[in-house]
Symmetry: C2
Subunit: 341 residues, 2 copies
DNA sequence: CTGAAAGCGCTTACAG
DNA sequence: CTGAAAGCGCTTACAG
């Protein structure tokens, strides 16, 4: 530690007050006279007094640091969530430690443990896709407040902040029906993906509500959804006797692969086959035709998650009601389903 | 603090040893017998002992936390740098606090100060483009180790980690010359942007070395480089009597705007006008034609920055040699300059 | 309205 | 090889 650092002790000596009084004055304790407060604060200011965060944290066993765990920081949607988290946290006087699980279950467990032992006041986590077994991370949830966002699990008792994937997918399919499509394929993830399942449920529901046939042949599940897989699965769909007239890919990345393959075969988008993605990545306006997709409110999601987490941290009761907050996302219609003339 | 937490005191009581011995055993102090060490470690393990990071940090006035400041976390290149930072830091036993300046000079100063007072051991920062006056952030650099990366300033005495922008730009221009281009335009930022200036210097040098005319009319400077500006500036370039036969945009975003505008006017890329960007964003493979660009080693840059920062933090001398580390980036040739048949 | 004192959990110079 | 004790900078119950 640099010498010359201003401490309560130094201030108290100069002012001929006790350390306790100085501490209380700085913390606006009601017992202290306005006069004293003023003189203390003035001196503190002029001497650039900054409380030692570690002494403080140590004393109160509170760090004012939030831990955040995401699968990958370069994932665009997650980076917008992080933006919201940073902003809200900083407004509330909290700092944010970020870690990545790299979509690896082992790393995820390790990171959660390290965050915990690093003394964060609470954790905001988005799980890896492959998180089937939650046993190894469950203990963390009983040690400190943890809130899950986006990639959540319903095997874990905690507050969850998500977007209305089911409804959004329902709207996607209704939009496709509205533009005259009748044979709507979906490219989704095979299993364990909470979000994919929700979107699939919305898809099924919309088909049923509109009395459209549900055909297993155009319901495609892949292990790891990606642009590559989008391409590959489109080839499969095109090889069917009865081709679909629309393809709903569960992610923008896959939807872009779909478009690229359709273009390769000179299939007219959206006239022959319409395409919809999910997430409104930057890419979705670069691809031609521009991609109809679902815009998810990343920043708002991040901010909301922070609000609920801090509420839990600062609440005095031990009984916490776990809520599931669903934020509205919105359909963005672009050229891949409907071209304005 | 939860009750039931294992502390050194508890361990010492159970083992009938002093707290000091337990502490030393856990820290592998040479004075302690192997026997004692073993039994202490065993018990600590079985009781899930985790050192209180705040007591430790407080005691040693070291937090093992690095502060990172970037203009925007959603910026793709920076998010890859962050990935590298997180990985390297976690390997070295450090955690990372991330903040954004939102490209705002005031927020930048504030964030640097907060990081400092939050007791981070050192800071990694990438400055806002508009950082002309560094007076307000200079004090931070004398308080603790700070390393600048990517968006640096040479008005600040510190270690800098950057990519070889000048050389990379030189290579871009040489590549354009090699494919037969003679009238190469550049779209750059107006001022104060360290990176833009470097790239511009490389551009000028390559033209001179190849005896090509430097024509002010095709050297375009914009305030805030973006896709929009790329479009607008292309319109200007196309309105010239003597059109360029290649456009080098200082960022991928702008280059994409360039391509979109050229396509609007049915100009053949690269035959009539070739286009090059900078950074190798995800977008650069989505746009058609795919974009020739410069790939910058984001993760390596992040890791390197962490290495140098930790070296400074852990060095015992007060005299630190400030270095400037330049990492190699590489030209990625795609369809916007050269189409494989 | 103010102060003296204890204590948060750890490390480490000093002593043996 | 081990222990007693001091102290890091802060907050807060207790006393006046």
């Amino acid at each position: 530690m640099k010498k010359g650092v201003t401490t309560l002790k130094k201030l108290s000596k100069i002012l001929n007050l006790s350390v306790s009084t100085v501490s209380r004055a700085l913390n606006d304790h009601p017992d202290i006279s306005d006069e004293t407060k003023e003189s203390v604060k003035k001196l503190a200011q002029s001497m650039n007094y900054v409380p030692n965060i570690f002494a403080k944290g140590f004393r109160k066993s509170k760090s004012n640091i939030l831990g955040v765990l995401v699968p990958s920081i370069t994932h665009y949607f997650h980076s917008t969530i992080l933006k919201g988290i940073l902003e809200e946290a900083s407004m509330k006087g909290y700092r944010v430690i970020i870690s990545e699980s790299n979509n690896d279950v082992l790393q995820q467990t390790e990171m959660l443990n390290t965050l915990t032992q690093f003394g964060v006041d609470g954790i905001l986590a988005s799980l890896t896709k492959k998180t089937k077994n939650v046993d190894s991370i469950l203990p963390v949830f009983s040690k400190l407040p943890v809130i899950l966002f986006d990639k959540v699990s319903n095997k874990i008792p905690c507050t969850r902040i998500i977007t209305n994937d089911e409804e959004a997918a329902y709207n996607v399919v209704e939009h496709l029906i509205n533009i005259g499509k009748k044979r709507i394929a979906i490219i989704k993830e095979r299993e364990f993906s909470y979000n994919s399942e929700k979107r699939y449920t919305g898809y099924l529901k919309a088909l049923k509500d509109n009395n459209l046939e549900i055909d297993e042949k155009i319901i495609i599940s892949v292990d790891d959804i990606s642009q590559q897989q989008g391409k590959r699965m489109t080839n499969i769909l095109l090889s069917l006797k009865q081709r679909p007239d629309a393809i709903f890919a569960i992610t923008d990345g896959a939807a872009i692969g779909v478009i690229q393959t359709l273009k390769k075969f000179n299939i007219k988008i959206p006239e022959e086959i319409a395409v919809v993605g999910f997430s409104n990545n930057i890419n979705s306006t670069i691809i031609e035709p521009t991609l109809t997709t679902v815009d998810q409110p990343g920043e708002t999601l991040g901010k909301t998650a922070v609000k609920y987490l801090i509420e839990e941290i600062e609440s005095n009761t031990d009984i916490v009601m776990h809520k599931t907050i669903e934020l509205k996302s919105s359909l963005i219609i672009r050229d891949s389903t409907f071209r304005a003339k």
